[in-house]
């Protein structure tokens, strides 16, 4: 997933994966070096993504904090509370 350290929805997304014990990799875009930022932006421009968090699950992508969609794609029961 691509996230921002300043974004509460990105934090919630990481919490969701942690709570469900789903291993994940992430890059905080704002803390990355410029070359990494440029690489991420090229990737996101292809997807038409404008806001964070951006999550890739298999061959599917999710823009925004969408716990029900995460759960569906991961094949788990959603429990966001």
């Amino acid at each position: 997933m691509y996230t921002l350290s300043t974004c509460p929805w990105c934090r919630k997304t990481k919490q969701f994966f942690n709570q469900h014990q789903i291993p994940f990799e992430f890059v905080d875009y704002d803390l990355a070096d410029e070359a990494t930022q440029d690489k991420i932006m090229r990737e996101l421009d292809v997807e038409g993504v404008k806001g964070f968090p951006f999550v890739r699950i298999g061959d599917q992508t999710v823009e925004g904090y969408q716990p029900e969609r995460f759960a569906k794609l991961l094949g788990i029961r959603s429990s966001t509370e």
Binding site: W9, C10, Q66
Partner: protein
């Protein structure tokens, strides 16, 4: 810069800007405080209070579209969600911000 006093100033300034557009601050006070604090920190770093949930691209024309409140640049999308992307602002009739989706414009059928 004193973060608390700047947060208060931004709150005052933003309220006047978003109210005529039909928006208000989210009733989730904790979320609003967190987001305002991030914006003050972004303002200290970059000179303007960028949205904390959208990427700064180092492209001035695009980056100016994510300066808070960025509602005018994303009006149709935000009106469809009844919130802005980071959730600092919601439509004035919203009482339960947790019920609002955070979805791309494409998913909302706008683009």
């Amino acid at each position: 810069m004193n973060i608390e006093s700047r947060k208060k100033a931004l709150r005052h300034f933003f309220a006047k800007l978003v109210e005529p557009m039909g928006f208000k601050f989210t009733p989730d006070a904790e979320l609003a405080e967190f987001l305002l604090e991030q914006e003050v920190k972004l303002e200290v770093k970059h000179g303007v209070p960028f949205c904390p949930c959208q990427p700064i691209r180092r492209d001035r024309s695009r980056d100016m579209q994510i300066v808070c409140p960025c509602i005018p640049f994303h009006r149709e999308h935000f009106d469809a969600m009844k919130r802005c992307w980071c959730g600092l602002f919601v439509h004035r009739d919203v009482t339960d911000p947790d019920s609002l989706p955070q979805m791309s414009a494409k998913e909302m059928g706008i683009e």
